[in-house]
Symmetry: C2
Subunit: 141 residues, 2 copies
Amino acid sequence: MFDFKIYGHKNMTDKYRHLHIKLTPQRLAIFKFMEGNKSHPSAEAIFSAVKKQYPTMSFATVYNTLDALKNKGGIRELKIDSVKKRYDPDLTPHHHMICVTCHQIFDLFADIEVSITDELIQGFKIHDKNIEITGLCRNCQ
Amino acid sequence: MFDFKIYGHKNMTDKYRHLHIKLTPQRLAIFKFMEGNKSHPSAEAIFSAVKKQYPTMSFATVYNTLDALKNKGGIRELKIDSVKKRYDPDLTPHHHMICVTCHQIFDLFADIEVSITDELIQGFKIHDKNIEITGLCRNCQ
DNA sequence: CTATCTGCAAACGTTTTGCATCTGT
DNA sequence: ACAGATGCAAAACGTTTGCAGATAG
């Protein structure tokens, strides 16, 4: 989930110590579930998955953890789904393709040319550019 | 809101007849409010505005009308705001810039080069490409 | 030790729904 | 006439919050 290989982590706890948040077992389970997860899960999906291991897991803990991760720059919150928030542990610059039929989300690691004239942006200071592509995935065509 | 000037509309009702939905006074009030509206209003904003004229206006009617419009291609539903849906009557291709401080939404009518190799899109058939830019607007810098 | 986290339940804001009544066509 | 819209209130849904007890550091 985070590229800290340079630290040579001994274990799970060491691996996430840099976040400077309390590393509870519940949180570590969430980190583990998110690590390398390409499904862009919702809070509900994360909750369901981690609840198997921690039957007392609550939404408060899931949202609390996701919020902490988001604030520490550990995950991205996606607005791809108008119904619920989705989370992406992949922080490398990429975009998303959403199938209008099966609603699956596909990563797109294309380097996209976004050339905008100063005149058009009305003095807006750009932090981030994000491209959302809608259409039909191979299966649904 | 719709570019049907070629029909030479006599009045409000004629203007929207092509939608093939019942043109109630409430709906016409919503159409009028949306026409040329650059504020990307939420359902609540539309409701509040139109309620002044129709005190009995309900959310059911607002959502019903927005849904009909969306399905007939009369408006676009935006996913820019993760809390609530926003609606845009402008159907000409354009993108959005969202200020992270004041949360205002600005239109961006730039023609953006999105060149993607066939290999990267995994057979995905693209219908639409949408760019969301986040940053600071001139006022908030 | 104590600042922070967990888990529960209740509250919240947005959107959807059921249904009786009404109305545009 | 009648398919479809309105308006109300209730429900549904995802998310947030308050708080008492627990725990990581």
